[in-house]
């Protein structure tokens, strides 16, 4: 690892000031992506600004059906939050299947969303739930947030402080995990609203990262059942091909995961 200077921020404002004073700084939250990347010398921030101890970025609140998850909340905290499980068990299930127990004790929702790994799980939930990404400057709709592989709408020194959404009527997430890394080779989050609106988000499969599968959304809005997906064909053109699976195989996985998710919701 290259040299770096560590700072522990005490508030969001303190973190921003330290970032603006740094040369090539980076925020660190759980560090479960950034520290391994630095160990491999694929990232070399001059300064690391730690967000993990900022009180205003912690914790989960559920008010009726409206949910707020602080960006520094760990995967384990999301997986085991009883109040959240009562209104949106799908996101708890998703968080409980990220990586392994040790990674879940450190990794955070804000870090996962900011990183926007094309095989990460949370982006699918955030997009399918039509969540809002709250930053220190503004609120960003999920539809506008994920802009490409490892790319987001975040600007320099902008911090995600929370994720908010209204709990859906029904939702579920199913992933086909890579047997070695446990990252998604295809993961599908389905969500249905009380007004009948359906959103389907796919991770792990898109060549440009997480995306909405509109044909599936239309089919499920007309008929919320796994069978409704039988006639939907998943276009493999913009899907990833790598040594784990080619695009045609992933296209099939997307359909299978979507069916399983609807059945589980």
């Amino acid at each position: 690892m290259y040299e770096t200077q560590y700072h522990r921020a005490s508030s969001v404002q303190d973190a921003v000031s330290r970032m603006e004073a740094a040369g090539e700084g980076k925020y660190v939250s759980g560090g479960m992506t950034l520290i391994p990347t630095m160990k491999q010398r694929l990232a070399a921030p001059s300064d690391l600004i730690d967000l993990r101890h900022i009180a205003e970025m912690q914790g989960i609140s559920v008010n009726g059906r409206s949910v707020r998850i602080g960006a520094a909340t760990t995967h384990d905290e999301v997986a085991s939050a009883a109040a959240l499980k009562a209104v949106c068990p799908a996101i708890c299930h998703l968080a409980g299947h990220i990586g392994d127990p040790h990674v879940r004790h450190m990794g955070t929702i804000g870090g996962s969303i900011a990183n926007n790994d094309p095989a990460a799980d949370y982006p699918a939930a955030v997009l399918a739930l039509g969540a809002t990404i709250v930053t220190n400057r503004r609120e960003i709709a999920a539809d506008d947030f994920f802009t490409g592989l490892f790319e987001t709408a975040l600007e320099d020194s902008e911090i995600i402080t929370a994720i908010t959404f209204d709990a859906p009527a029904k939702a579920a997430y199913q992933k086909f995990a890579n047997p070695a890394s446990r990252y998604a080779m295809a993961g599908v989050f389905v969500a249905k609203r009380d007004n009948g609106e359906v959103r389907v988000a796919v991770t792990g499969a898109g060549a440009n990262g997480v995306f909405r599968q509109m044909d599936m959304e239309a089919a499920l809005a007309a008929n919320w059942s796994p069978d409704a997906l039988a006639t939907v064909s998943v276009d493999a053109t913009d899907l990833l091909s790598d040594l784990h699976a080619d695009a045609a195989y992933r296209a099939n996985l997307v359909k299978v995961m979507a069916k399983r998710a609807v059945a589980a919701a």
């Binding site: 560090g31 479960m32 520290i35 391994p36 160990k39 990586g99 127990p101 040790h102 004790h105 450190m106």
Partner: protein, 162 residues
């Protein structure tokens, strides 16, 4: 160089290290506690698992500076008064180790797992919970057996104490 202070196995300790120093290096090299192992460079093997503020974490993927101020337990901190911790005793009784390299991480993982599940474990759960720990000797069968035996004994002891 910064001064890092934390509580390790019940003792307050400090040391000087670069900000880029990994927690596992700090534990092994500054504190001389070499029970915590490094088995990979990819955050996957779990040989380095310790407890930070009561939760299992991979000490190879955390900076010592990130852990400053926290309370750490390593494998050396488990046995009380020269008596093996029930999980350590179960690994011994069930032949839960071969070369022993993965064992510190396995034991620390098991202690955390038994705590979170309040001793209510079955084989499928133990295997799923071991996702982040690799045994190069592939002795998983006896590792699972040892964890189940320890969980049964520890929840039995709890019931007896209540």
């Amino acid at each position: 160089m910064a001064k890092v202070t934390m509580t390790v196995n019940g003792r307050q300790v400090s040391g000087h290290c670069d900000d880029r120093t990994l927690l596992v290096q700090f534990i092994r090299e500054n504190l001389g506690l070499t029970g915590t192992h490094v088995g990979c460079d990819t955050s996957q093997c779990g040989a380095c698992v310790i407890h930070m503020d009561g939760k299992s974490v991979k000490s190879c993927s955390i900076l010592a500076a990130q852990a400053a101020g926290s309370t750490i337990t390593t494998i050396e901190g488990l046995a009380a008064d020269g008596e093996l911790h029930p999980v350590q005793a179960a690994f011994k009784a069930n032949h839960g180790l071969q070369c022993g390299f993965c064992t510190p991480g396995m034991v620390m993982t098991a202690v955390d797992m038994i705590r979170r599940h309040q001793g209510q474990l079955d084989e499928a759960t133990v295997r799923a919970e071991l996702e982040g720990n690799i045994c190069r000797c592939t002795g998983y069968h006896n590792i699972v057996k040892a964890i189940l035996a320890a969980a049964a004994e520890m929840s039995g002891a709890r019931v007896a104490a209540e």
